[in-house]
């Protein structure tokens, strides 16, 4: 049962493998040149496992200790996980101990795959989710640790490789569009992101985007539910 799930999960994680090794190494190298030994990226990628925040953490570790400010920054950067959690509530139900790790390791990429992947017939859902999450974390941890080791020894023109993440999210978004008959929620999300990006700038548009999306979805709940975005039947 486990092998079958691992076999089904692995192909989905290959783009993440490329992206995470690249980004993870970049992160490890960045920590290395900032003066941290490879233990730091290793430990942080195990316990935090969230790319953008880990990059920010480097500058926090280098500045004087400010616990409240650090916690606030962490909450703001990671607030999107609340959305992921709401979307995965039903899917992660009834999975026993695996559920705990799935929630712990729910980064952007694991969420995207587990939320969009069609799990083949006869493959255990819990183990599939579990292996996607575990493989992704392994890629990130090994990538960042190697980066920490190698420092700036690498000499290979990888310019542009970071696009692998963009390409993956484009494909996942496209798949979602092909799957859904009605595209209003996609349009809402896209419009909110672009408008907020223009108004608030690249560093602080995520929170306003999430607020706008929530507001619009709530305002148009009735027509959206008619268009097929209805919750589970047993919901109250």
């Amino acid at each position: 049962m486990k092998r079958k799930a691992l076999k089904a999960a692995f192909p989905h994680t290959i783009p993440i493998f490329a992206g995470f090794w690249f980004l993870g190494m970049a992160y490890g190298i960045y920590m290395n040149v900032s003066g941290f030994s490879f233990w730091y990226p290793l430990a942080m990628s195990i316990v935090i496992f969230g790319g953008s925040l880990e990059f920010v953490t480097v500058s926090m570790l280098l500045s004087p200790f400010a616990p409240v400010q650090t916690l606030l920054a962490a909450l703001m950067i990671q607030a999107r996980h609340i959305f992921y959690g709401i979307a995965m509530l039903e899917k992660y139900k009834g999975l026993g101990w695996k559920r705990f790790y799935l929630i712990f390791g729910m980064c952007d990429e694991s969420f995207s795959i587990n939320c969009s992947a069609e799990i083949p017939e006869g493959v255990d859902r819990g183990w599939f989710y579990f292996f996607v999450t575990l493989l992704n974390q392994l890629y990130w941890v090994t990538g960042s640790t190697m980066g920490g080791f190698l420092g700036s020894v690498l000499d290979f023109n990888t310019e542009g490789l970071e696009f692998v993440m963009t390409a993956m999210f484009v494909v996942i978004f496209l798949e979602q569009l092909l799957k859904e008959k009605n595209h209003s929620t996609a349009v809402i999300g896209l419009a909110a992101s672009v408008v907020c990006l223009v108004i608030f700038g690249a560093d602080s548009f995520l929170l306003p985007t999430m607020a706008c999306t929530l507001l619009l979805l709530t305002a148009f709940r009735k027509p959206l539910e008619k268009a097929g975005f209805k919750g589970e039947e047993d919901a109250v």
Partner: protein
Amino acid sequence: MCVLGTMATRFLPFLIFGENRPTPRYISFLGKALPAAVFAMLVVYCLKDVSVLTGSRGIPEAIAIAATVLIHLWRRQMLLSVAGGTVVYMLLVQLIF
């Protein structure tokens, strides 16, 4: 503190809406309506540092995304589309722009 903040946001929905209680209908609706909106946000997030006014004006990004979409509509193979789009982008930024 970073660990605490990250884990708070990841576990919160699951703690509030426990496994054994039925999920409120509004939250269940959001669970259905959010994914497409969130994926759109993630795509924009990846492109947030692209400037349309300076440098290469986002042209390599636009071409590479178009390539990714076309390859995907053609074969519907996630790996092929992602790899193809990335190679197109790397060639563009390394050789042309």
